[in-house]
Symmetry: C2
Subunit: 136 residues, 2 copies
């Protein structure tokens, strides 16, 4: 009789690794980069500069800014620099609040994972599957 | 004449917020949870326990484990606990290395974003768009 499958101890931590705070709108890799750039510039970033900072194409940046705009996480302003039409993207107050909350969940992931990285390196060498277990 | 659009200073940081180390296989929210759970248990986690820890359905966990298996980030072992067939999921050596590298990039995101969160809170109240600029 093994107690391994009963999961009593596991049950106590049910959902611990669900990270529900990692909202997909903010977590998507390109949008995470855009939001990180924007939080460092409270007055906003011109579309073309943002494109460079995040290594995105026009089309990709437009698409992601649209998603962020629909979620009300950013504001988009239109204006002119000299005679050239420009677009300014800026984190909204809602965006800032939600991104700060998202970053706290991200820090929780690191707090959960980081201390385990050294132990994992040591244990992985000594792993033996239980007798009779086979790779799938 | 405004120097804002010229982006000389910006260019120096081109790609800074691209976070190319955030590999989509590892970054996807559910898989990030699975990998974080697995790194805390170097001997692996039974499928049903992992399902609970990550609040995933059978189908979702199967699908994500399959993606991780194809990327050689996890090993899957089959065996019995008593008479019940069981599946054990375990981080591979490759998975551990790649996840540790991923976590380093994630820490870079936090280092970039975190110091800006307080400044952003103060500046957002005093933001005025340049004269003539309009919300899109």
């Amino acid at each position: 009789m093994s107690s391994r499958g009963k999961g009593r101890k596991r049950s106590a931590e049910a959902g611990h690794f669900a990270y529900t705070g990692l909202d997909r709108v903010l977590h998507e890799k390109a949008r995470l980069g855009i939001l990180t750039a924007l939080i460092t510039r409270p007055d906003g970033i011109l579309f073309n500069d943002l494109k460079e900072l995040c290594s995105l194409t026009d089309g990709n940046l437009s698409r992601h800014v649209q998603v962020l705009l629909e979620a009300e996480l950013v504001e988009v302003w239109k204006g002119y620099e000299g005679r050239r039409p420009q677009t300014l993207v800026r984190l909204s107050a809602t965006g800032r609040r939600q991104f700060v909350a998202y970053l706290e969940e991200l820090e929780q992931v690191i707090r959960d994972a980081k201390p385990a990285t050294r132990a994992a390196a040591q244990r992985s060498k000594s792993f033996k599957a239980p007798p009779g277990w086979m790779p799938a």
